[in-house]
């Protein structure tokens, strides 16, 4: 009962409540479904993220303790994890300086601030001139170490100001720029994350060369559509003359006729005839791209994008949505129990 019936009951109650929340016109019920229940969802989802992190630590830790294959690298995973936990929960690295009184020597103060913030002293002087009397001024530079901030406090106080050392609030330290957490995000997390994705560009190119084959009509459609989108979407596409596209169509026609008639002579005649017709038409039109603008890559791309592509995408979307609706109903009614591990 505890392991099966109660979870199924929870799913049924929350699912039905959320569903009826779209239709029932009762303030208390709507407030619960739209505000409270969704807040609870957010909170439990956050615990799920923490669970994921802890589970990762457990898996990598097991690899190290049991000396599994490549266990040395798991030390880096654990090290990285503890570094980010330290930076997130134990070491704020978000120290800054607040000046409550600029003192009589504003010129020297602006020099000190300019040096700390790495800006032009003139800009610092202008910024300080806008500070009103009794207004507290916060130096925008964030120091990872306390000593760095305290050094600035000493320099400012030595020049007649009244400066104070402070730290950003816990919680605020992960969202402010310049903190140690932000440093980790910019110089560790971002390059790792971005480069992992960028790596796929090379594999896409390799796959295009080695695996993308026109084995049947459907594959040909896929290929042609892909090529037109790729070329038509970039500035280079508009530089390619539609007459060149017309020649490509003639050559394509030649290939198709060869696969039907399987007669080299006939293929040659069709292709040569096509090329001649296009060349004559080109000369008559003065090779003006406007005369057959509808064959330019950007226009072809736009048509493929907004007509057959939409049709296919819409069919996929409706198909997936029908499946989603069915699955959601099955989950709410307790028919689908895969989330219980059954």
């Amino acid at each position: 009962m505890l392991k099966r019936q109660i979870p199924l009951a929870i799913v049924f109650l929350t699912g039905m409540a959320t569903l009826f929340g779209w239709f029932v016109d009762n303030v208390v019920f709507e407030t619960f479904v739209n505000d409270t229940a969704t807040q609870w969802f957010d909170i439990i989802a956050s615990f799920a993220m923490i669970l994921g992190s802890l589970n990762l630590l457990r898996v990598q830790g097991e690899k190290v303790l049991r000396r599994k294959r490549n266990w040395i690298y798991s030390i880096f995973a654990i090290g990285g994890f503890f570094f980010s936990i330290t930076v997130g929960f134990l070491f704020r690295g978000a120290n800054y300086v607040e000046i409550s009184d600029l003192g009589p020597n504003q010129g020297a103060i602006s020099e000190v601030i300019a040096s700390a913030e790495n800006i032009d002293p003139k800009i610092a002087a202008v910024t300080l001139s806008l500070v009103e009397e009794n207004e507290v001024f916060e130096v925008s530079r964030i120091f990872i170490t306390e000593s760095g901030a305290k050094q600035l406090v000493d320099d400012l106080n030595a020049n007649g100001a009244k400066a104070e050392f402070k730290s950003k609030t816990w919680g605020g330290h992960i969202l402010e720029k310049g903190t140690l957490f932000n440093w980790m995000f910019v110089y560790l997390f971002t390059p790792l994350s971005a480069t992992m994705f960028a790596l796929l560009a090379f594999f896409v190119a390799s796959a295009s060369y080695r695996a993308f084959r026109i084995r049947n009509f459907e594959a040909t459609l896929l290929l042609i559509s892909g090529i037109i989108i790729m070329v038509g979407r970039v500035p280079l596409g508009s530089l390619i003359s539609p007459w060149f596209v017309l020649y490509l169509i003639v050559l394509g026609g030649g290939i198709v006729s060869n696969s039907y008639f399987k007669d080299v002579k006939r293929t040659f005649q069709i292709t040569t005839g096509g090329i001649l017709v296009v060349t004559i038409a080109g000369f008559i039109a003065g090779w003006s791209p406007d005369s057959i603008y509808f064959l330019s890559f950007p226009v072809l791309q736009e048509w493929i994008y907004s007509v057959p592509n939409i049709a296919g995408s819409r069919a996929i979307m409706i198909g997936i949505a029908l499946g989603m609706v069915g699955t959601s109903l099955r989950i709410i009614l307790g028919i689908e129990k895969s989330f219980l591990g059954e």
Binding site: Q39, D42, M49, T169, V186, A201, I227, V234
Partner: protein, 282 residues
């Protein structure tokens, strides 16, 4: 002669994939060092996005939602910069939310890049509400009760102390939403749980990989225009007359696409030659 040519094509077809990697690296790297400056022509979907923002009046409430991270920053960030420039030029009141945690850092980067050119006051002209976890539940929360969800902004300032939040209680108080999306949660969630139920205008800029997913919504009028990937960002930059990162990458993008198309053609040429030769053998 013909046979020699065909032999060369077949040999090229079995080249080590590391050679392909090197070629791709070079065709992307070299145009970044030696830019050509190709002309960019906006597509219809980008134009519709631009017009949707352009139709807003001064003082309208404009919500920008950041749901992308560093992995898709090169694609989506330039369009966010361009749209924020557009919004500030039109003196819209900009509300910034994030459905992804990284989105908050992305939003701060965009603000840092754009703000120096304008005289905007935090809390009066723009506000960074920040990130809340919960995916579609967050969109639902914004749709029904923003202040219940965002009790403080990103800097922990109480929401009631922010002037431009006084008359904004739910999504229906927003004139337009612009979602910068790279996956889940993103534009789809804004359509399903936010803008469709509330009847609020929505436009979007998405990573290229998500374009086809959003296209049916755009065609059905649920989304007003799509800025598609880095080329879309370059088009929007052209339309607002301010070149940025999107434009600078277009030369490399163009050459790389052309090279990949040539790879496909060459790969298939090799395939057909080998197939014909094996058929002749039997």
């Amino acid at each position: 002669m013909m046979k020699t040519l065909l032999d060369i094509i077949v040999k090229l077809g079995s080249v080590d994939r590391r050679v392909i990697f090197l070629i791709i690296a070079l065709v992307v790297f070299l145009p970044l060092i030696f830019p050509v400056g190709l002309t960019i022509k906006p597509t219809d979907t980008t134009r519709r996005s631009f017009e949707a923002v352009d139709e807003l009046k001064e003082g309208d409430n404009f919500l920008m939602s950041f749901e992308y991270g560093p992995s898709t920053k090169p694609e989506v960030n330039p369009m966010a910069v361009a749209v924020l420039n557009h919004a500030f030029r039109k003196n819209l009141r900009v509300y910034i939310t994030c459905l992804w945690p990284d989105g908050q850092f992305m939003a701060q980067d965009v603000l840092a890049e754009v703000l120096p050119d304008y005289d905007k006051v935090y809390g009066e002209d723009y506000v960074l509400l920040g990130y809340r976890p919960g995916n579609e539940a967050v969109v639902k929360g914004i749709e029904s009760n923003i202040k219940g969800l965002y009790t403080v902004d990103y800097a922990n300032t109480l929401i009631d102390e922010i002037p431009m939040m006084q008359d904004v209680n739910s999504l229906s108080d927003i004139d337009m939403v612009f979602s910068f999306s790279a996956g889940y949660p993103g534009t789809v969630e804004w359509v399903q749980y936010g803008c469709d139920p509330a009847g609020v205008k929505l436009s979007t800029g998405v990573a290229s990989i998500q374009v086809n997913e959003i296209l049916p919504y755009e065609n059905a009028g649920q989304v007003l225009g799509i800025i598609a990937g880095m080329p879309g960002a370059a088009e929007y930059e052209t339309m607002i007359g301010k070149k940025g990162f999107g434009t600078s990458g277009m030369d490399a993008q163009s050459v790389a696409h052309l090279v990949i198309v040539l790879f496909i053609v060459l790969g298939n040429a090799t395939y057909f030659i080998e197939r014909k030769r094996s058929q002749k053998t039997y």
